[in-house]
């Protein structure tokens, strides 16, 4: 992966992938790439944390290796696992011929029986990949400690095979929804960036870029309406993803303007909570800009 020479160059490459990064995000990403440190991204749901990693991989034409975290994830699911079924079959085949042969047994733990999981894949790919560790807060403490070890040296030891090390570490993006506090040690390994909601102008640009078939004026109206929704004190304020969805939904219905009728029909694309829906319906005229 050819590293960008400045945040501006990086932002341009990302916008080529229909991802608009502001000054803060592009600087943080540029620094993470240059300093070869993982980048920890936080922000409200739907502001484009995962998309940032995807766009980064696409912009530099490298693979995106995604490790989705969940409760109970362990090294076997993240790093490597042996193909036990095949190993067993292999032993059975062996035992009839030359069971005492050491080399045959050694083969059992050769590369052909190793199942690579995302972390190992990323270490092997080195800088030909972007490693996305998604929603790390869903994993537990033990897994975080293990991850810290991998992210510190970018190397792992598989006892049967030896040490595998990335010559040039892959670009690493870690995302968290802050359901729990991450360990300081892990945070210190990372550069940190909080992705905020975009400014109204930028949000219009994003909608036009991600939903090019939507009429420009409609896109502007949708972005403005979402801006007003965020001011409504909702339990789940809509993210940028919802803005784009809403524009798509309106367009699919053939709507050319945002008014109370078309908004009511498509509100499910932006408002995903029962109480919020009641609140929004109360203020609908205001939201669509008719008040």
């Amino acid at each position: 992966m050819s590293r960008p020479s400045s945040p501006v160059e990086l932002a341009a490459a990302l916008s080529g992938q229909a991802y608009l990064a502001d000054r803060g995000l592009s600087t943080a990403m540029f620094l993470a790439l240059s300093l070869q440190r993982p980048l920890l991204l936080e922000g409200e749901a739907g502001v484009g944390k995962t998309e940032a990693a995807k766009a980064l991989a696409a912009a530099f034409g490298v693979d995106l290796i995604r490790l989705q975290c969940y409760e109970g994830i362990d090294a076997g699911q993240a790093l490597y696992e042996w193909d036990y079924a095949r190993q067993l079959l292999h032993i059975r085949a062996l035992s009839e011929r030359a069971a005492a042969d050491d080399r045959a047994v050694e083969e059992l733990f050769g590369p052909q029986f190793l199942v690579e999981r995302p972390l190992l894949k990323a270490l092997r790919a080195g800088d030909h990949a972007v490693l996305l560790i998604d929603e790390i807060d869903r994993a537990d403490d033990e897994f975080e400690a293990f991850l810290l070890e991998v992210l510190s040296d970018f190397q792992v030891t598989v006892p049967e095979i030896g040490t595998i090390k990335a010559d040039v570490p892959p670009a690493v993006v870690v995302t968290s929804n802050r359901t729990r506090e991450l360990h300081d040690a892990l945070k210190r390994r990372c550069l940190y960036h909080w992705i905020d909601y975009p400014t109204p102008e930028r949000e219009i640009e994003i909608v036009r870029l991600r939903a090019p078939e939507v009429d420009g004026q409609l896109a502007a109206k949708v972005a403005a309406a979402v801006g007003r929704l965020r001011g409504l004190d909702m339990a789940k304020p809509p993210g940028v993803a919802e803005t784009i969805d809403w524009a798509h939904a309106l367009n699919a219905l053939g709507a050319t303007a945002l008014d109370e009728t078309t908004a009511t029909d498509t509100l499910g694309a932006v408002v995903k909570d029962h109480d919020d829906m009641a609140l929004v319906m109360e203020h609908l005229a205001e939201v669509v800009g008719n008040a």
Partner: protein, 373 residues
């Protein structure tokens, strides 16, 4: 590109500035910061700002403090000469704070009377209402309270460990053992799901009407959060909600309490329980903190807001939490009836309603938590 080395003293100065505002900045982070500035344009205030923010801050709650410190540092002659190219991101509005010292003084138990003067024996003290205790007695209580250990019910987690009674096949160990018998699987190995204690969330009312109890409850929270293997989160509320979990982590109780008090802006003010619970559910609870947790609300239930709103928020909290315990110091009085608007509105959603006016009642709380299956 100018060598960042010349700027090093100035850059390190920002680290000191941040530490003044209570941000823990490690040397490793400062090294990353100076390397980052070297990669960018040190004369551009925006570049320096974003480099500092990416490398020196690691949690969203610290951004306010960072903005303050950065502005101070950038505005001083000791900083680097930067041309201001763009608008720095606007400083989020924060409520004016009471000078930290004032709160600290109020919280400190004035142990002027020496310890020997604490006439009451431990047992009498145990049943003395916190609000009636002298500062010396409160200090003695703190020592008793430090022995308290919180235990909570377990929940089964998704992580597994080898176990002969498990239900999930352990292929790794099965294959390993089969190798000893030439690949013949003689017996299978199993894994079982582990059990972990549930999280405890303490929501402490520190409004004016609770003034006599706040210190003791915070002390209790400190003990609960520091000891044992129970993950604990602590929040204080009056008119607004403040997370004090991090502040309470300090080893020495007095220091921890003082730090917690400094983060709370509405100490001994009014009470808006409904709003505070709403903020908790939105900002923390829904994201995962309250899910499956034991939530303990410590409040007298004297609500200034609308009781109906409190009921609605309690209903939401009850849907997230495993159990809700309400600790009310007023209940220590046998004549007390929970008729006040707020308390009677919240009660239908409370699994256990307890007094919390003296040490004995807090001990009862600690003993009761493990039973909350």
């Amino acid at each position: 590109m100018p060598a960042a080395a010349d700027l090093l003293p100035a850059l390190v100065g920002l680290g000191h500035e941040l530490r003044v505002d209570g941000l823990a900045v490690g040397t490793g982070q400062l090294i990353a910061f100076s390397r980052a500035v070297g990669l960018l344009d040190p004369s551009d205030s925006d570049d320096v700002y974003w480099a500092a923010r990416a490398s020196l801050v690691s949690r969203h709650e610290d951004l306010d403090a960072f903005e303050r410190a950065f502005r101070r540092w950038a505005g001083r002659a000791g900083g680097i000469a930067m041309k201001v190219t763009g608008e720095l991101p606007r400083l989020p509005m924060t409520a004016p704070r009471e000078p930290a010292g004032a709160v600290r003084r109020r919280l400190e138990p004035a142990v002027d009377a020496d310890r020997g003067q604490v006439a009451s024996s431990a047992d009498v003290l145990r049943h003395k209402r916190f609000v009636d205790c002298t500062p010396g007695e409160l200090a003695a209580l703190a020592e008793l309270m430090a022995r308290l250990r919180l235990r909570v019910p377990d929940r089964r987690v998704r992580r597994t460990a080898p176990s002969s009674k498990g239900r999930y096949p352990d292929l790794r160990r099965t294959v390993r053992r089969a190798m000893r018998s030439q690949g013949e699987v003689l017996d299978q190995s199993w894994r079982a799901r582990l059990r972990r204690p549930r999280r405890v969330v303490l929501l402490l009312d520190v409004s004016g009407s609770m003034a006599g109890y706040s210190r003791a409850l915070l002390q209790f929270a400190h003990t609960a959060a520091r000891h044992g293997r129970v993950p604990t989160e602590v929040f204080c509320f009056g008119t607004r909600l403040t997370r004090v979990t991090v502040a309470l982590r300090h080893r020495r109780p007095d220091e921890a309490l003082a730090r917690a008090a400094e983060t709370v802006v509405d100490w001994e003010g009014g009470t808006r329980i409904g709003d505070s619970i709403r903020t908790f559910v939105r900002e923390w609870g829904r994201r995962g903190m309250a899910r499956g947790a034991v939530v303990v609300v410590c409040s007298d239930g004297l609500e200034r807001g609308e009781p109906a709103a409190l009921a609605a928020e309690m209903a939401k909290l009850a849907r997230l939490a495993h159990r809700i315990v309400w600790v009310n110091p007023l209940k220590g009085d046998p004549r007390y009836l929970p008729l006040a608007g707020g308390m009677s509105a919240a009660l239908p959603f409370v699994d256990i309603f307890l007094a919390g006016h003296d040490l004995a009642s807090l001990e009862a709380l600690a003993a009761l938590l493990p039973e909350l299956i």
